[in-house]
């Protein structure tokens, strides 16, 4: 089997309209996947949702339950790989921070069955708190990384990635970005799914026990394997150096940035282009490009990973480099066909064609009025959402304190920062409401309130709560329980039905673990309960419960 051959999209294939997320999921199922693991997070959620709904996956009984968080998900997928089966784990970029311990060390244990670690980045922060670039993690852990530029490549890279993972015996990262994850296109797919791997154990069992003696041996191997990984990249069907007669400029375009470059040249690009969709960077192909051209423009979605590597610390590359670090392309936000076109025109003024013309006079004359008449429409909590009632009662309860502080968390209820509630003071990462409220209470803050959703609580709140319980920290934790993972569209929440038991099991004082319905009619009751617990000189947990209005509607329809 030669996995380096470009995939054959012949007539035996079935054309399907798929999101980038779905294409990757289907590619994995068709390549003999045995289990998928994930915690929901935009823009990665649709990967596991696709596996859950896929007929082949259901028929085969492939694992597709949601995990408690990204770290447990990576470890579960690695356990499956240990047994020789093909597994994948998917998350959003910041989820990889949570899973970093498991991911980085999985490069040390290596993989047995093929394992894909899918991390979906969110440049422009459509639904995230930062723009971190997962490719740094692949480089840090020294694993290969695939970066599809199209839905078809996302599909093809699943089988290819499993093969690569099994050849190199290491997990392979697949880096997606929002505009691929959430963009649909036709994809040529196989009709039949390949069989799953048999249960087989690692040929190198020592490597899976990362005690220092074993790790030292393995680390040397991992470093030695970098050359093999680079050779795979140089021969990858997804990395391509294409001609172009004009050598005054070369272009390196990675992932979907390649599409924006091609959009600028409908008749074909006159400059040599090196398309990068597999890492580590193939030095050989880059040298070949550099030998041909005078200057190089680097277009990459996310942070300037390739650009920084090629510039080096002293910024003395053998050819002048243009990119995000010198302002040719914007340093923040996602790329667009426009920003790439502007960079190309700045680099090659002769390309300036119809840029002025395309601004319509009628529209140009409206600019001032448009500024006045088009106002922001920020997202808001749904009408009928229980978080609204929690915030209304919380604000009322805090009214008479001079400096109350409310530590928020990640989920729909982060919208409580916006008008009309303006109810939270911080939002950092999953679970930080409880631990930051604890630190604040330790500093003398009163009242110190944490507000966290049910799914975020079981993701990363429980360990922090244990800290607060052990010290009986004077603070109030409100778990606003909507019985689902709401922001990402209503996936199962791991703590549903057992939040109080979890808190009690961790050792919370039963007389200060209270449950209340979050409804307009319980406003006074909620307010009174909040006030009572603010007065308690120790830890209180209040579970405020009401089903998410979105999932409630869905359940009502199913009736």
């Amino acid at each position: 089997m030669n996995e380096n051959k470009p995939t054959d999209h012949s007539a035996s294939k079935v054309m399907k309209l798929l999101l980038g997320d779905e294409a990757l999921a289907l590619g994995a199922i068709n390549a003999g996947l045995s289990g998928a693991y994930a915690y929901p997070g935009t823009p990665s959620t649709e990967i596991l949702e696709f596996v859950q709904a896929d007929p082949t996956a259901r028929e085969r009984g492939l694992h597709s339950h949601w995990s408690s968080n990204e770290k447990t998900a990576v470890e579960e997928a690695l356990g499956m790989s240990f047994c020789g089966k093909r597994s994948m784990v998917s998350m959003k970029h910041v989820g990889l921070n949570v899973a970093a311990d498991a991911f980085v060390n999985s490069a040390m244990t290596g993989a047995n069955g093929g394992m894909l670690v899918i991390s979906a980045d969110d440049p422009s922060m459509h639904s995230s708190q930062n723009e971190q670039d997962s490719r740094f993690y692949a480089r840090f852990a020294m694993t290969p990384c695939l970066e599809p530029s199209s839905q078809q490549e996302a599909y093809d890279m699943a089988a290819y990635g499993f093969g690569l993972s099994e050849r190199l015996r290491i997990p392979v990262m697949v880096r997606l970005v929002t505009r691929l994850s959430h963009s649909r296109a036709q994809v040529a797919t196989e009709n039949i799914a390949a069989p799953e791997n048999d249960l087989t154990y690692p040929a190198n069992p020592r490597q899976w026990v990362l005690m220092p003696g074993n790790s030292r041996v393995r680390y040397r191997e991992l470093i030695a394997d970098q050359a093999k990984m680079e050779e795979e990249s140089a021969n990858s069907p997804f990395n391509r150096l294409t001609g172009g007669e004009n050598s005054s400029l070369g272009i390196i375009a990675s992932g979907i940035a390649y599409n924006y470059v091609m959009e600028c040249f409908p008749e074909g690009c006159p400059f040599p282009v090196l398309k990068i969709s597999q890492y580590p960077l193939p030095k050989r192909l880059i040298s070949e490009l550099f030998a041909k051209i005078d200057r190089v423009l680097i277009a990459e979605e996310g942070q300037p990973v390739i650009e920084e590597m090629l510039r080096g610390l002293l910024d003395t590359p053998s050819r002048p480099i243009l990119g995000k670090l010198d302002g040719y392309l914007p340093r923040t936000g996602e790329l667009t066909p426009d920003s790439v076109m502007e960079a190309l025109v700045k680099a090659m003024p002769s390309l300036k064609t119809d840029i002025e013309e395309k601004v319509d006079n009628a529209i140009a004359s409206m600019r001032e009025e448009l500024k006045e008449l088009v106002v922001a429409r920020p997202p808001a909590l749904c009408q009928g959402c229980g978080h609204r009632d929690v915030y209304a009662a919380l604000n009322a309860a805090l009214e008479n304190y001079s400096n109350p502080k409310v530590f928020g968390d990640i989920g729909c209820y982060t919208l409580g920062w916006l008008s009309p509630f303006n109810a939270i003071d911080t939002c950092l990462d999953m679970g930080a409401s409880i631990t930051m409220a604890k630190g604040a209470a330790d500093a003398g803050q009163h009242p110190s309130v944490a507000i966290i959703g049910d799914s975020t609580f079981t993701h990363s709140g429980m360990t922090g709560l244990l800290d607060a319980i052990n010290e009986d920290t004077p603070m109030t934790v409100i778990i606003s329980d909507n019985l689902t993972t709401g922001m990402t569209g209503g996936q199962d929440s791991q703590g549903t039905g057992k939040l109080e038991q979890i808190c009690l099991g961790l050792g919370a004082d039963p007389s200060h673990v209270n449950t209340i319905d979050s409804l307009p009619k319980t406003f006074e009751e909620m307010k009174a309960l909040f006030l009572k617990e603010f007065d308690h000189k120790g830890l209180s947990v209040i579970v405020a419960r009401r089903e998410c209005i979105q999932t409630a509607r869905r359940h009502a329809k199913k009736g």
Partner: protein
């Protein structure tokens, strides 16, 4: 054939269903298609925009370059204006005139409609009213799809087949209601030409 469409509206209005139906129709026609949409945070009553690109030749970018869209299709007049920078000089705006007011500072409706009317190619009418008269209020998005149909190079039969594909799991009555809304929208758009 090439048709670049910006679909705009407010989260929950049914903009993405329009994209799904046109996608199903385009797939039947063996056209190339790319459709970038927004999920997650923006869907909670915020503004939603989707780029839908149809072409007989391969499409490079998932996003439409500004100034290149052939059509802006909006269920809300301010949302139509929000994306006006994408419209090509020959492009057309098809929009409902009914504001969706979920913010305290929604601008003056007459001023918005006045600005829209200064564009050279506009199809604008009250799509909620048409939906209520010919189908149900919830089918306003299908009235909009019908109003945009004369400007999209896909046959109405193919689009109706797309509607059938999407709504058939919800029953034949749903299919007929939505097709009725689609036809009503198309008729009005043709009569306004």
């Amino acid at each position: 054939m090439k048709c670049d469409i910006i679909l705009a509206g407010v989260g929950g209005q049914g903009i993405l269903s329009i994209a799904t139906i046109l996608g199903a129709a385009a797939l039947r026609d063996n056209l190339h298609l790319k459709q970038a949409e927004v999920h997650g945070m923006s869907q909670r009553g915020g503004d939603v925009m989707s780029c839908l690109r149809l072409s007989s030749s391969p499409i490079a970018s998932d996003l439409i370059p500004t100034g290149k869209a052939d059509l802006i299709v909006a269920l809300e007049p301010m949302e139509a204006l929000r994306h006006i920078g994408w419209l090509s000089p020959q492009g057309r705006v098809v929009t409902s005139t009914v504001p969706f007011v979920n913010i305290p500072n929604y601008p003056d409706r007459e001023k918005i409609l006045g600005l829209l009317s200064r564009l050279p190619n506009v199809t604008a009418f009250d799509m909620e009213e048409v939906a209520k008269a010919k189908a149900t209020l919830r089918a306003s998005n299908m009235v909009l799809l019908g109003a945009a149909a004369p400007y999209i190079d896909l046959s109405p039969e193919k689009i109706e087949a797309g509607i059938e594909t999407i709504f058939s799991p919800k029953g034949e009555k749903m299919v007929q209601t939505n097709i009725a809304a689609f036809r009503a929208g198309r008729e009005i758009a043709l009569s306004l030409q």
